[in-house]
Symmetry: D2
Subunit: 105 residues, 4 copies
């Protein structure tokens, strides 16, 4: 599935509800919350943090999907074509500023 | 382009460099930095925050692309199939726990 | 109590444990998690986000205290005198760059 | 200086300006931005991230002070007594849930 398809699917999902899209500052707060959940999982798996019993078991993969979902909401809210932006980004990585930022093999 | 294609393209890009993938805690720190840049742009456009002259002009769309790029790096590092995870996520949204969380139109 | 006293108290608390201070990247991941919890509470109180039943009830004040605690850990780990830094920061706000950034009453 | 004194000093500073305190969602977005700047410095010093030439040189101590400043703004906005909350937090750490979470020396 392409990013465009996901953007469409998310839009159909949100369009069923009365609230519709949240404001950008609300979506950002939600994104911050989701990054926090990813941080918890990563620190749990790769850092020293142990879990409290009350903490639900989640996975890094599920948290990444949560974050992408929120980003798609924000992109839809702002009329952003994610495919176009990502392709532009990849081109910059390959030929632009970052192309010689790290040592090649 | 599908998410699988992007994951492959990012992997080819990173494979050129000596450092290769960073550790998950380093990628997370980078992700936190990028979320911060998105927050700045959103607060600038929708909140009260003015910009200092020294702050470079970026856009919400470019910052979202930056974040997705970092998430793809993390997914690759962890052998995560983003397409599979996002489809699972969408199914949960539609039929699972969240399906009746908000009021329908 | 002064910030110096809190820094001392946190140091005494951490010194009891075998692990001691985490690495800066681990502390940062923990900080990101705590910011996420604050974001959840703020979005719950001021945004549109409703809570899932499984989510524990916390408060904005408790989350802010959590965050300051983590910042004190990081400051101790890095030998930073928070009182000195905050006073420098306040002076810059009052007489420096930011003094004329917003419209006065 | 005590936290109460800092809260008072920040309040006096903000009271000079027309805008006054931002909304909690705006303050949160600003906090997310500042955490991102701290993440950049930490990843720069302890991770693999190199700096772009365009990136200004900051320090971990200055970024921590920035974050505490924003937290004080939020606390003032919400009528939170930080000293009281931190003391409660320290007591929980010492005698409560977390007292036996990690292995003692």
């Amino acid at each position: 599935m392409s990013l465009k398809d996901y953007q469409k699917q998310v839009d159909e999902w949100i369009s069923q509800y009365k609230d519709g899209y949240w404001t950008p500052l609300e979506i950002l707060a939600h994104l911050t919350e989701e990054i926090g959940e990813l941080a918890r999982e990563i620190n749990h798996r790769y850092g020293k943090k142990t879990k409290k019993d009350s903490e639900t078991e989640n996975t890094i993969e599920a948290e990444i999907a949560d974050i992408i979902f929120v980003l798609i909401c924000l992109a839809n809210r702002e009329n952003i074509d994610l495919d176009k932006e990502l392709q532009k980004h990849m081109k910059e990585k390959e030929y632009g500023r970052d192309a010689n930022r790290w040592e090649r093999k």
